[in-house]
Symmetry: C2
Subunit: 348 residues, 2 copies
DNA sequence: CTGAAAGCGCTTACAG
DNA sequence: CTGAAAGCGCTTACAG
């Protein structure tokens, strides 16, 4: 099909056109559009009419240039290393959804961008005035990340980060209580009579979120005199493939285990795959609990128990907090409480 | 945790500052930054050095105001009626991901926004100069939609729509060959020996995509002397809940059927739920095929056969085509070929 | 309550 | 190859 004949783009109406039509000065048009209280009601009416007739919209760039505010927030999503093109972590995808909604509710636009951890992102968006503030999202090696955050703080950039609230960390974070989430999983597994809980996911200071989940689970086991066995921990980043391979490694070690606590749902899903291939029954032989509360956890076979992070609320909090920062109001880091969703994978 | 003492925001460097520092005029700075060929190599070097030292970024609003180009594309995602806050259709979520990537590759920013079909979106983004062009995404009643598209064309707005390429439709579309997708499903079910294929999803001109899927499946059955039975069709929009309810309605009708072709994966997932509750075995009693190729299709129980739309390629094509339009280059609608992913739900 | 005027930070003819 | 100057479309003191 050929390109249809395109209507020649009409030259856009400006506030000058509105002024002429309404018989007022351009300044008055601007006052009406900004909702200034010092405009006569009748004048206002005439202007609004002209605006409607000419289908006028304020030019965003002119306005932002003058006010030095863009009315836009930027969401930077990190992925390092670059994953398969089509499969962004579903947890971040739902965050993206709720952040977009929260922005809309607050009358802001949202600029979305994927970044590599290695990129020179730390000085771009706000300096070029594209956005009034930044939302940072993504897994990745925290130690590599921290200096960039410090740089942002030094530059006076407004930003919030999704992630754990850590001692002395630069900037403000909104995050889930990962230790509590781990404890939820651990207590549940203990209640199911499990004693040998394996952990799939990196458990070091490079990934403080995973590490806290591990520690929380360990703490829960210790409440009843048990503990995590480091020999039952296998590194994995948050992909199905990594979970699959990690579970194979775990099985190959030949040590007995009766439960897997996976650092994310994606890891858990991959692990279940490997368990089934090895002829292990879920949950009879091995109970599995994931983390994140992603949509697909409900649909897996068997349905996956998971520690749920409320992405809706998280998105709202991220945007709220960032907007406070942008307005130079005091703001603080927030830790959210996770909940446990028990399903068949852990024999609930 | 209290807000950390924020470094006082330094006043941003402007091209004037760079000019002073490099000992040239502001105009020359601008030329260097825009890559103008008429700048002396040594001059260029000095300017670039100053830019680096002061960490200067071109002010986007000033630049856009002057050039009347924003370097930004807007993605409008329609949802009507408003669904549960957290669950955006996963198919659109992956489109969002691939569109974001494609934009980045082309050096454009992406503004994301959710819209209600009823909103006054048709004249906003481009008129306010926020974006150079629009990408339209979303399900919804096409008949309600069409007049808005015509309006966009009349206004000379640059846009592409994800959706079927229809006769005489306003504007340009990139879409999947839904009839072919339906045929793929139909032929496969026939090959599995199924004869009574039910269809879950609205099959009317209001939803041309679903309708084409239905017709394509029907055509495939007719190739072997069978046909779709309208009494085995139940309306459903693309949610799990609707699929669940539609399957219950179907079962309640009491007519025999040995396969379900669902208009989307979400519908299929909901339907499988209802089938299992009714004691029907998948695929022994009823084979199920979905549509979209969403990630969770792989994880369902049993894994769901589905007609796959390549979201990666779709995102790339949408952005490419829109950019052609923005540059006033000829562009055309494109129909993409779907593929069939056979899994256990259809006894493959 | 309203208008005239300055200025936000760029880009790009125009002149040299 | 470079600079001086106009102007993109607004917002907001300032004066009345």
């Amino acid at each position: 099909m050929q390109s249809p004949t395109r209507a020649k783009k009409k030259t856009k109406a400006t506030s000058m056109d509105i002024a002429h039509r309404a018989g007022v000065s351009q300044a008055t048009v601007s006052r009406v559009l900004r909702g200034s209280p010092l405009v006569n009601a009748e004048t206002r009416r005439r202007v609004e009419e002209a605006v409607k007739e000419l289908n006028y919209k304020v030019d965003r760039h002119a306005s932002s240039l003058r006010t030095q505010r863009s009315g836009t927030l930027a969401l930077l999503l990190f992925e390092d290393p670059t994953p398969d093109d089509s499969h962004i972590n579903p947890f971040f995808l739902s965050m993206l959804g709720s952040i977009t909604r929260a922005c809309a509710r607050h009358g802001h636009d949202l600029l979305v961008s994927f970044q590599q951890l290695s990129d020179d992102w730390h000085a771009d968006y706000e300096d070029s005035m594209k956005a009034d503030g930044l939302i940072l999202l993504g897994y990745g090696d925290y130690l590599a990340y921290e200096s960039k955050l410090a740089h942002l703080v030094a530059q006076g950039t407004h930003f919030v980060r999704w992630g754990p609230v850590l001692q002395g960390q630069p900037g403000i974070s909104i995050g889930c209580d990962n230790a509590e989430g781990g404890a939820l999983a651990g207590r549940h597994l203990v209640a199911q009579g499990r004693k040998k809980v394996a952990f799939l996911g990196d458990a070091s200071t490079h990934f403080p979120e995973f590490f806290a989940r591990y520690c929380g689970c360990d703490a829960a086991l210790r409440e009843v005199g048990l503990r995590m066995n480091p020999a039952l921990q296998v590194d994995a980043d948050s992909t199905e493939q990594a979970g699959y391979e990690a579970a194979q490694v775990l099985i190959a070690r030949g040590l007995p285990f009766d439960a897997i606590f996976a650092a994310s749902d994606l890891i858990a899903l991959g692990a279940m795959h490997a368990l089934k291939e090895a002829g292990l029954r879920i949950p009879e032989d091995v109970a599995v609990v994931g983390f994140d509360g992603t949509p697909m956890a409900r649909f897996s076979n068997p349905p996956l128990s998971t520690v749920v992070q409320d992405t809706s609320k998280a998105g709202e909090l991220l945007v709220d907090t960032l907007l406070q920062l942008v307005r130079d109001q005091p703001a603080q880091s927030i830790t959210m409480a996770p909940t446990l969703q028990v399903r068949a994978s852990s024999g609930g």
